[in-house]
């Protein structure tokens, strides 16, 4: 039995500890906001926070995540500056990669309240978006930093 703490809620699941966390979150816990896209840590779509750090949940086994504080997109509170600015900037197109983008951006802003453009690009470069929403992601993060600083 593996005990997971996701968005403050405890779940006990009976499965092998080597299953990638992304599938456990999505298919077992039904928190489908976290996306599978590459399975190799190459695209960032599955990004979640473990103990506040952005990790690729496709590269993390459920065993390794057991007992730790896991936050998914569903755990980002309503009214979070990133969510607000994502809507204001009309970032999403197909929307598939956006939860991962937001989770990555949330980690950035938790450590750097006023990131430079270079810092934004450095933090976000591992997250792919086939629709090409990067310019709007960048401006949404800038605005969220401003909003968060208020």
């Amino acid at each position: 039995m593996i005990s997971l703490k996701v968005n403050g809620r405890k779940h006990d699941i009976d499965l092998s500890p080597d299953v990638p966390l992304v599938w456990v979150i999505r298919e077992h816990l039904k928190l489908t906001g976290t996306k599978y896209a590459c399975g190799k840590g190459l695209c960032g779509s599955c990004t979640v926070h473990i103990e506040g750090k952005a990790v690729r949940s496709c590269q993390t086994s459920v065993g390794d995540a057991a007992g730790k504080d896991i936050t998914t997109i569903e755990g980002i509170p309503e009214g979070h500056p990133l969510k607000k600015m994502w809507v204001k900037e009309q970032v999403a197109q197909c929307g598939y990669c956006q939860p991962g983008q937001i989770m990555q951006a949330a980690e950035l802003l938790s450590g750097d309240k006023n990131p430079s453009d270079e810092a934004i690009v450095r933090a976000m470069d591992g997250n792919l978006c086939r629709c090409g929403t990067y310019p709007r992601i960048k401006s949404a993060i800038r605005l969220a930093a401003k909003e968060g600083g208020k």
Partner: protein
Amino acid sequence: MSSSITRRTFLKAAGFTIAIAITPSGYTILSAKELEEAKNKGFSPSVWLRIMPDNTVVITVNKSEMGQGVYTSLPMIIADELEAGWKQVKFEVAPAADGYKDPVWGAQATGGSSSIRHMYEPLRKAGAAAREMLVTAAAGVWNVPAADCEASQGTVKHSAGKRTITYGELVEPASALDLPKNPSLKKESQFRLIGTAVPRLDLLEKTDGTAKFGIDVLVPDLLYATVARPNAFGAKVEAVHDAMAQKIKGVRKIVQIDGGVAFCADTIEAAWQAKKSTHIVWGKGTDPDLSNESLAKSFEEHLSKDGIIARKEGDVQNALASAAVKLDSRYYLPYLAHATMEPMNCTAHVQTDRCDIWVPTQNQTGTLMTAKKITGLNPEQIHVHTAYLGGGFGRRFEQDFVEEAVQTAKAVGRPVKVIWTREEDFQYDYYRPGNLSRIQAALDDKGNPTAWSHKIVCPSIFARVFPDTMKKGIDNAAVEGLSNLEYDVPNVSVEYVRIDTPVPVGFWRSVGSSHNAFTVETFIDELAHQAKKDPLRFRLDLLKKHPRAQRVLELAAEKAGWGKPPEKGIGRGIAYHLSFDSYVAQVAEVSVDRTSGAIKVHRIVCAVDCGPLINTDTIKAQMMGGIVMGLSSALKESISFGRGKVLTENFDHYDLLRMSETPEIEVHIVKSDAKFGGIGEPGVPPAAPAVANALFNLTGVRLRSLPMKPETVLKALKASV
């Protein structure tokens, strides 16, 4: 129960409805009253618009949402004519049904940058008809002339009587009315939504993780499946040794289907484990030696074959023979993957009298037909639930993933979700065709082109997808942008050589324009250079009969500061292309790292003329996204073949453009009175040639194949010294 009470209860649930029936000659708009009669006449109309007693306006969208904002732009059209308040509006996704077919195509599908172009007129008329009926109903309630009443923001007003009534309150009287024969459409000056930047209705759920994509579908009693597909093109299953897999906990069924072997289990991880533990013996593929080299050789060989003449004006051979200056170039472009962020997937449940399919599809009619063929059920028994598409770009027009899921579900008798891995998504795509062009042109002594001979070797998409469109054996996609080349050259010939290879090909965002814009716009740049003319001036002079083309070129050039020298170390290039009835010009500013050969694109200035505008923010977003995809293919993308199959497996060998590589992008919209143009695809084609031309401007190096990877650029730079 009196009939009036029954009717009231019914209206409370159904609201005031407007339906559309798709007929062989187009479409008919129907009132609630006419809906039943039409059904009896054998039409299958569907309800597109419902006004509920609580004043909500529910608009059904018959097109798939894959990023292009169609769940907002189509409702905008109805809502504007209806004079609804935007806050009242909700969208609903259409099921697959005859009444939701595209009236131009007679099929329910999304593609060809056509959603607005095909739906604008019927949706406006439906909205206008409903508005007039609501006004008439209000006039009836107040017993005043309808001419004294006016619809405004979800209400009808009677100014003389200072009275207002909401649409919701008019559900009952409006439902009893006949449909107006010729509802008057708004004048452009009366539009409130059309032509503005309306926020997307799907943005919130795409931000907080609640949007349900196909891969997110969860239904009771669900099994997961993975499919083992051929290990080379054309290989067939000869034997399946699955004794070990059968013993794995949670494995339910291993079944052979047309596309391979499906492994069904309680969890996706058990299904994968089963696949890994099974030894499948595959027969020989169609071409076990297929490789990058063998394909390149085959394209070369086909170039010397006679093709089919797709266009012929004047006498090209004669003009070439007598020319003062001749140019002869070859362009070789790779096969590309769609690489939608959401890998292919489909969930299906086949029962004796019903089939449900939950799928991110661009092709509802195709899905219905696929399921009908496999299950033998009637279309009425097949329910297609279109989920959000995590990217489409043409890939989700195909039926392979539907076929797998329905066949597997039929075999197991439980709902099955088939999930593709990224590796499978790369290896079993319908690729953007690779292609080879040879262009010969002649210039007279004043530097004016006198001949343009264009021969393209390209696999055919249409031969498989729409064989009926193959007139004289010509694939219109393959010669897109060539058969309608706008440059004024007196002698032109376009020749198409079809090449059939085992590699499946399909629609990829902007289709033939995705490659032909590169060859044409790079070659015209070569000609300008040869003629010692400014590349912008050279184009403008040859486009005197095409003022819209001139306008976008001029605007992009002006905004980019064309004519003023760029900063040191920066090269500038320009390109334009007409596709899907929209004109797009782009100016690229690039620099190059001379030690690594890496191109950096600093800025793209884009001008677009797509005719009338619906959602201006969507237009900008689609241009921006198209440019990023165009740059991605220009700089990074190519599929690799070997041992009779695709070798490319994941983003480590097929990386997409990343944020650090994305330039500043400016989009300028030209408002014109021309007919509607599409917006989903036309942003892609000019990006690659604009960059290649900028590289030439900076370094004198002319690249005639893609992608422009650092090693390729470096090699060319070294060769040029």
